[in-house]
Symmetry: C2
Subunit: 368 residues, 2 copies
């Protein structure tokens, strides 16, 4: 492992912090950010923590034209003992590199990324909110910065981490949402970029979301691109169904994102001896289960919302209600357990949480 020296340049002034009781998701950013550059022939170089600041980029930079970019999303939590916990951060960095591979972006040293993240959090430790449901959202991302209009992998990149104190993703708390099964648009195809966390997947999803919202639904349920028949994801989350006591979720097939929350839910269920299966699930099967009265719960999973119960879905001109439109018992238990583990109030038998020590990074060069 290379020993990286992360330069730290602290901001001379500090921003006014927003009220931690009424935080909106992804709108406020802390005083500092992490940046490391990549140059072809040199590799990743000059890792540094600097005051949060605008990027100065040539208008020909490839990220603006050919979308060569990947990102991650994870959270830091402040415990009652004023400790800072990360939740399985190594999984995010592993996925970042899998996304990098799909997008022809050079691999990033995962130890550097984790060390940088911890040091950045320490620098902006006062920004971690402590009100119920709040956390510090972490956004690592890579952008292609070579100014060149040829369609080819960029010779220059920036890997950046920014931090945002956030409230709960859904302001109304863990309440069931209404979703519409999407029939016209698709999120991703086998052989495409669906299992990479890259910008284009999200840009392409906006139109369906817009149409669904106009019809009164807050998310779309994505079907596969080949047969328009098998369930893939809901909005930008993975999805689970509880049918007749058994939990099922679509198997990873190359077009579905390998969610860290998804994996944690599967592990939790197995730990509880709740039967859980990853397999192909058709929309017809879910429709029939609802008709037969055995569709007990439906919920989405993701870092931002953790668990998002589905109370109703719209399919072929029918509104199909799940669990009387209420949050199911299992959904609630999963939400409470997972957020409890993340916050350190519930035992963590899996060793998922990672403490950010105050002295983290003291071995690195500080330039104050």
């Amino acid at each position: 492992m290379t020993e990286y020296k992360i330069e730290i340049n602290l901001s001379s002034s500090r921003k006014q912090k927003p009220s931690f009781d009424s935080l909106e998701f992804g709108k406020n950013f802390t005083d500092h950010m992490f940046i490391v550059d990549y140059t072809r022939g040199i590799g990743w170089h000059d890792p540094r923590i600097v005051p949060y600041q605008p990027l100065t980029l040539d208008p020909a930079c490839m990220v603006f034209h050919y979308g060569q970019t990947v990102f991650e999303g994870l959270k830091a939590y402040l415990t009652q003992e004023e400790e800072v916990l990360l939740f399985r951060p190594e999984k995010n960095m592993e996925r970042l590199n899998r996304s990098n591979d799909r997008l022809c972006i050079p691999q990033i040293d995962e130890d550097l990324a984790l060390s940088a993240l911890k040091q950045l959090i320490n620098v902006d430790r006062e920004w971690i909110p402590n009100a119920p449901g709040t956390s510090l959202y972490i956004r690592p991302f890579v952008i292609a910065t070579e100014p060149y209009l040829g369609v080819a992998p960029s010779g220059r990149y920036k890997f950046i981490i920014i931090l945002s104190p956030v409230g709960a993703y859904y302001k109304e708390g863990i309440n069931p949402v209404k979703i519409a099964v999407e029939r016209q648009y698709v999120r991703a195809a086998i052989g495409g970029t669906g299992n990479a966390k890259t910008a284009g997947n999200y840009a392409g999803s906006l139109k369906a979301q817009e149409v669904a919202e106009k019809a009164g639904y807050s998310q779309v349920l994505w079907l596969d691109s080949k047969e328009n028949h098998y369930i893939e994801e809901v909005g930008s989350m993975n999805i689970f169904f509880k049918i007749n006591g058994e939990v099922v979720t679509p198997a990873l097939n190359g077009s579905i994102l390998e969610g860290v929350t998804r994996d944690s839910i599967i592990q939790l269920l197995k730990h509880w001896n709740v039967p859980v299966t990853e397999r192909k699930i058709s929309i017809d099967e879910i429709y029939q289960a609802q008709k037969d009265g055995i569709l007990e719960e439906v919920f989405g999973t993701g870092t931002a919302a953790v668990i998002s119960p589905v109370g109703e879905f719209f399919w072929q001109n029918e509104k199909l209600v799940v669990n009387g439109g209420k949050t199911g018992e299992l959904s609630k238990k999963l939400y409470d357990t997972l957020t409890g583990i993340q916050l350190g109030t519930v035992p963590d038998p899996f060793g998922w949480t990672v403490k950010v020590e105050q002295q983290e990074g003291s071995k690195y060069t500080h330039n104050r």
Copy 2:
């Protein structure tokens, strides 16, 4: 039609121009650029021509995370009479707005965009190269600039035009390329963003291109995502086949880009009474035609390369040669005619070229 006032702020210094005899594609940019901003609730505002300069963007700007961006590509040509010609620019601005619609980006006034483009070209008129095969490549593009990490359409955008003097796209001139039929990766799916000119389509294509290049092929032939059987595009171009005297090209199906060059080729062929058909074309049909000795020519079409003949394709462990690996007669005639029309050396019966008058935009406010 709204009368827009485009502010013009000329650069106090001028860059050294590159040698017009050895231009690389998309690496040099002129002295000025056009920008217009969009703000939700206000609309597009403050159109301006300014010195070519870096963009200053918050690291949370949505373009970096969710890829909400579209672009266009077209060219300006300097005739022997020192006139400046554009080729069907209104088609590009129409497509820009179709792409905008798919990506939930607000529509742009096409008259403003064309007027801005002409004025920008006049300001940087000395940058239009005149060596054979050269032109001024024009890159209009839109990026989402709201600093916000929620997955939703941005409330702020920038529409920018930059200019780049370019040589021929392929340095070796109009010489046949070798392509590999892609079996693992797909470019786009029905219901996806394939018919929009947006960044994510290009980011997703890099991996297949990388694999093909390592195997000695310069482009990939994309098959459809549903059956992996029907031909869609080649590299980032549309594709045509001449089989037994008839020209065929894949029909627009929602996942294929509606190329301006593609449309021009179809019109030219009809004008010449060469039979041309838009329809589904399977890779098996092309394979069989080659085996039967009736696959006469294959070529890609696009703004950058105009016509790119295919001399060989690789399919199921077989190298299949087209027209003895040489540029076909029809490919050559199409290339010569189209580039002749673009350069004003061949009659333009379609009214495709648009002259950029020297006094263009004199009705606008200049601030020199």
